[in-house]
């Protein structure tokens, strides 16, 4: 059998537990060896499930280890990785969670998986030096509306109609005494000023404000985008922009 056909048969049988052992895959005496072949089948499935568990630890914690394994096995068969870069395996996992019947009622799971995925992207993002929290000190107040910023490569913004960050925190550290989950959605800024991934809840309009800045639009335009949301507070958002250390470069019109 040409190598291409034999590997096609081998690959197909690896991902389908019901498929027969490919022809010609034998034990040393030339006899069929399903148990031996199952070692490869098991290695592939188990290692990919482990890769998913490493990538989505909070999803695993929230649904339980046993259930996660069974669910991940389904995912692995439907969406095997397309590249050997397993650090980014699971891009399709949030979408899968929306469709997977046994968890469809847990409508927040998909956003929780997106948060974990963005945290991973941020962890591996290119290094860059953020500006200090005082970088606006040199900008004349009148020129502030023309400020354009460059974000750190690790910056991501997640908008959610679920209290996704609170759910993430509760799963990680336990619920604070006497607290109940917020009833509103939470928008989250994910960043990595140095080596550790950080995340913070954004105030009303904060996601629109940052998403507009991310397009290299001036601060004036970003403020208008934020102001479309009730309760938008420009000063609080600018303070957040400075404190979160997500800016690596900036320009203002008319500046030398």
């Amino acid at each position: 059998m040409p190598l291409k056909s034999s590997q096609e048969a081998f690959a197909a049988a690896l991902l389908n537990p019901e498929a027969p052992v490919p022809e010609g895959v034998v034990n040393p005496e030339g006899a069929p060896a399903p148990k031996r072949f199952a070692v490869y089948r098991n290695n592939v499935t188990v290692s990919l499930i482990e890769a998913l568990a490493t990538a989505f630890p909070v999803i695993e914690k929230s649904v339980g280890e046993e259930f996660f394994k069974a669910m991940a096995a389904e995912f692995v068969r439907a969406h095997p990785p397309s590249s050997p870069l397993l650090m980014f395996y699971g891009d399709a996992f949030p979408g899968f969670l929306e469709q997977f019947e046994p968890v469809r009622h847990l409508t927040y799971l998909s956003d929780l998986a997106k948060l974990e995925q963005l945290r991973r992207r941020a962890y591996h993002a290119r290094d860059a030096e953020p500006l200090g929290a005082d970088f606006l000190a040199a900008v004349p107040p009148k020129a502030l509306g023309t400020l354009r910023v460059t974000f750190h490569p690790a910056v991501h913004i997640l908008t959610s109609s679920h209290p996704v960050l609170s759910i993430w925190e509760w799963n990680n550290a336990g619920a604070p005494d006497g607290a109940s989950l917020p009833q509103t959605g939470e928008d989250v800024l994910i960043s990595r000023p140095e080596l550790d991934v950080e995340q913070r809840r954004l105030p009303p309009g904060g996601a629109a404000f940052l998403q507009t800045l991310a397009t290299a639009a001036p601060l004036g335009e970003a403020a208008a985008a934020g102001a479309a949301f009730e309760g938008f507070d420009l000063t609080a958002n600018i303070t957040g922009l400075l404190e979160s250390r997500i800016v690596t470069d900036f320009t203002v019109d008319g500046a030398a």
Partner: protein, 294 residues
Amino acid sequence: MTTHRLSQKDAIPARAGVGLKACHYDDIIEGKPDLGWFEIHAENYMGDGGKPHHALRQIREHYPLSCHGVGLSIGSAQGLDPDHLDRLKKVVERYEPGLVSEHLAWSTHDTGFLNDLLPVPYTHETLDRVAQHIDQVQTHLGRQILLENPSTYVAFAESEMSEIAFLEGVVAKSGCGLLLDVNNVFVSATNQGYSPEDYLARFPVDHVGEIHLGGHAPDLDDEDRPLLIDAHDRAVAGQVWQLYEDLIARIGPRPTLVEWDNDVPVWPDLFAEARRAEAILGSKAGGGAKSRAA
């Protein structure tokens, strides 16, 4: 020695090294253990930045480094992934490893990346394919690579030659070197029913640039005979140490790596395994390997 270690392609010494795991970064960076070198899995450092690179830069300043790929799929019937080849080149340029190695196995197919080191039939067609892929990698990287002998669990009815003949053929055609994994020899010999001593006696040792040692897990095959799994989840087995000691006595010291990738132990336990390899190397090298009180 200059202080600009990163600018040199430090050769891997004929001492013991260990596979670098993220959980040991702090032990290594702070403790600077007396070890000859470290080996990375290339794919773990194919991200752009962040902690993995931050740690590896610091470790590379103090130790020679070897780069071991697990995702190139050299035994694949389809062509190599040019993007992955570029990613490997970037890691090699970034860290200037003393050795670069890959596996005699395949893992990528049209259906995607299968994340295991899958076996190849030992046919002339496969041999040509593997040699051509290695040639492509060596040309792309501008250097020789080492090819590792596999752990196998099945045989192929269509195989036309022995594993040794296959490896010799690949070396002759591509000019690559070999990475001799002694645990893989023991695992495959047990699983395929031949003698590991005979295999090692016939192995083309002149081409061996590196040796691997690792732990395996016991299982049973379809006929309830022992089937060993290359699990890298425990200490090196006694029989593997014996094979290794006999091998070093015969061929002299070679860079030797202890691999422990699953159920990774605390640093002192892994370090102790490496010291055991170092003691064997040192006793055959006229005290070439440094000793240190335990």
